[in-house]
């Protein structure tokens, strides 16, 4: 089985290279067009789309499926970028976390520079029973903490997942909330509490 996996991976890589020559042209043309036609506005700056980081570049190049080694490389690199809380405390206030999970504002061209960002977790996840307007791009997080407890391992994993989702899943649809500075450390702790505090409605 392992051998087949490797052979497949090599085949995919080779196919990727074979089509590269033709694709590169359109890729460059697309980038040039974006440079010419998009203008920075508010917190949404042009450099954020034309100067992709390595993960963004690879995930654009392999939008649906990617070779195993590309995925593993992305995950390993992103895991290194996770910063854990300096004081070793992971949990803030779930009430504040709920507000962050509801708030979809932040970093759009229509937002003010420097205004606090929301996490908009409900856009993609179920979290509590009370909020029925939730999306399904991400898995349900209802009873996240009740099912997993609060071991050091779970705390660290959950923190890292919110901080940089691609540390565990290359090209995840989930924003890298900590790494990209969308949420600050205090906000991350509050969202952690929403998921893990036994008193949080997420765990009722």
């Amino acid at each position: 089985m392992k051998r087949i996996g490797i052979v497949l991976a090599v085949a995919v890589t080779a196919a990727g290279c074979a089509t590269m020559a033709a694709d590169t042209d359109y890729g460059k043309a697309a980038l040039d067009l974006m440079k010419a036609d998009f203008k920075s506005k508010g917190p949404a700056t042009l450099d954020r789309i034309v100067n992709q980081d390595e993960a963004q570049r690879l995930c654009s190049e392999y939008p649906t499926e990617r070779p195993k080694e590309v995925a593993e490389k992305i995950e390993a690199e992103q895991l290194k970028l996770v910063k854990y809380p300096a004081d070793g405390k992971y949990l803030g206030k779930w009430q504040e976390g709920e507000k962050i999970a509801q708030n979809g504002r932040g970093m759009q061209s229509s937002d003010k520079v420097g205004s606090p960002n929301g996490g908009n977790c409900y856009a993609c996840h179920q979290i509590t029973k009370e909020e029925i307007s939730f999306g399904n791009i991400g898995p349900s997080l209802y009873q996240y903490g009740k099912l997993r407890g609060q071991s050091e391992e779970i705390l660290k994993y959950t923190w890292a997942k919110i901080y940089n989702a691609q540390a565990f899943s290359a090209c995840s649809n989930m924003p890298r909330f900590g790494h990209k500075g969308i949420l600050d450390e205090k906000q991350l702790k509050d969202v952690m509490a929403l998921l893990l505090d036994p008193a949080s409605p997420a765990n009722k």
Binding site: Y26, G27, A29, A30, L33, M34, A36, D37, F38, K39, S40, K41, P43, A44, T45, L46, R48, I49, V50, Q52, A55, Q56, C59, S60, P63, T64, M107, Q108, S109, S110, Y122, A123, C124, K129, I132, S133, F134, G135, N136, I137, Q166, C171, N173, P175, R176, K180, G181, I182
Partner: protein, 268 residues
């Protein structure tokens, strides 16, 4: 206020159903709401105003737009939209409807670029001539099948570039168009998202723009739809009627090929 009204309407509809049912019944409720208004889509007012604008001599040259060539020959409006974007020989480039309209207003009527692109998106007390003109032109393709060509190398190129942009991840949130629009059955909150890579979905989505948006009280064009998507994607702002928008539109329009065009529609 309008948004709130609809929200209350939806909330009331949702309240009646059990939470587990809520997800599917929301779509049904919106469909019912559409039906309620279907006989009187306010977009008709935009269509009528657009027709008048199309036929009125104006601009420094005091001519109407009736000789504008939207791709099927000068003055042919019927069926023009379902073949757009397309390559135009006279300008040697691929244009979408709004780019072409801007071109006609400048070349035929003698408007400056600034005049021809003034108020692309209307607001209360500041109506947009463009939204009205687009409503009229698109309505003249109602009931026809989307038939977009990628035969010309520049059309093919626009499509390929559009596809690259569709998958381009960037910005603060790492989003691409594909983040929300490449998987079946996805929702943001309760809003269902068309999978643009799925033909049926792409057809349903593309053939219902422009649309009168109840939440905004305006007819919104495809240009506006993409502008709004990019905003939510945390991308910078695309220039109005720019080639980047045309490329993405080409990708969407081609994916919707064969679908029966049915707009200006009515949307939340």
């Amino acid at each position: 206020m309008r948004r709130k009204g609809l929200f209350i309407f939806m909330a009331a509809a949702l309240g009646a159903a059990a939470p587990a049912m809520a997800q599917t019944s929301t779509t049904d409720e919106i469909a019912k709401y559409r039906q309620l208004l279907a006989d009187g889509n306010p977009a008709e007012l935009w269509e009528m105003r657009g027709e008048e604008l199309w036929k009125t001599a104006t601009g420094p040259k005091k001519v109407s737009l009736e000789q504008c060539d939207l791709g099927k020959g000068p003055g042919v409006v019927k069926g023009a939209y379902v073949e757009l974007p397309r390559y135009f020989k006279d300008v040697n480039k691929v244009m979408d409807l709004e780019q072409r309209l801007m071109h006609c207003r400048m070349s035929l009527q003698g408007l400056t670029r600034e005049q021809a692109t003034k108020t692309p998106f209307g607001s209360a007390g500041n109506p947009s001539d463009i939204e009205a003109l687009v409503s009229y032109i698109t309505a003249e393709s109602r009931g026809m099948k989307m038939s977009v060509s990628t035969a010309h190398p520049q059309e093919k190129r626009a499509y390929e570039i559009g596809q690259k942009i569709f998958f381009h991840r960037g910005g603060a949130h790492d989003f691409a168009c594909a983040t929300c629009h490449s998987v079946d059955g996805q929702r943001i909150r309760l809003q269902e998202l068309p999978n643009i890579l799925n033909k049926t979905n792409a057809q349903a989505a593309y053939t219902t723009w422009p649309a009168y948006r109840v939440s905004q009280g305006e007819v919104r064009t495809m240009q506006h739809r993409l502008y709004d998507c990019f905003r939510q994607q945390r991308f910078p702002e695309p220039a109005y009627a720019s080639d980047v928008i045309t490329a993405v539109t080409m990708f969407l329009a081609k994916n919707a090929d064969g679908g029966v065009y049915n707009a200006p529609a009515l949307k939340r």
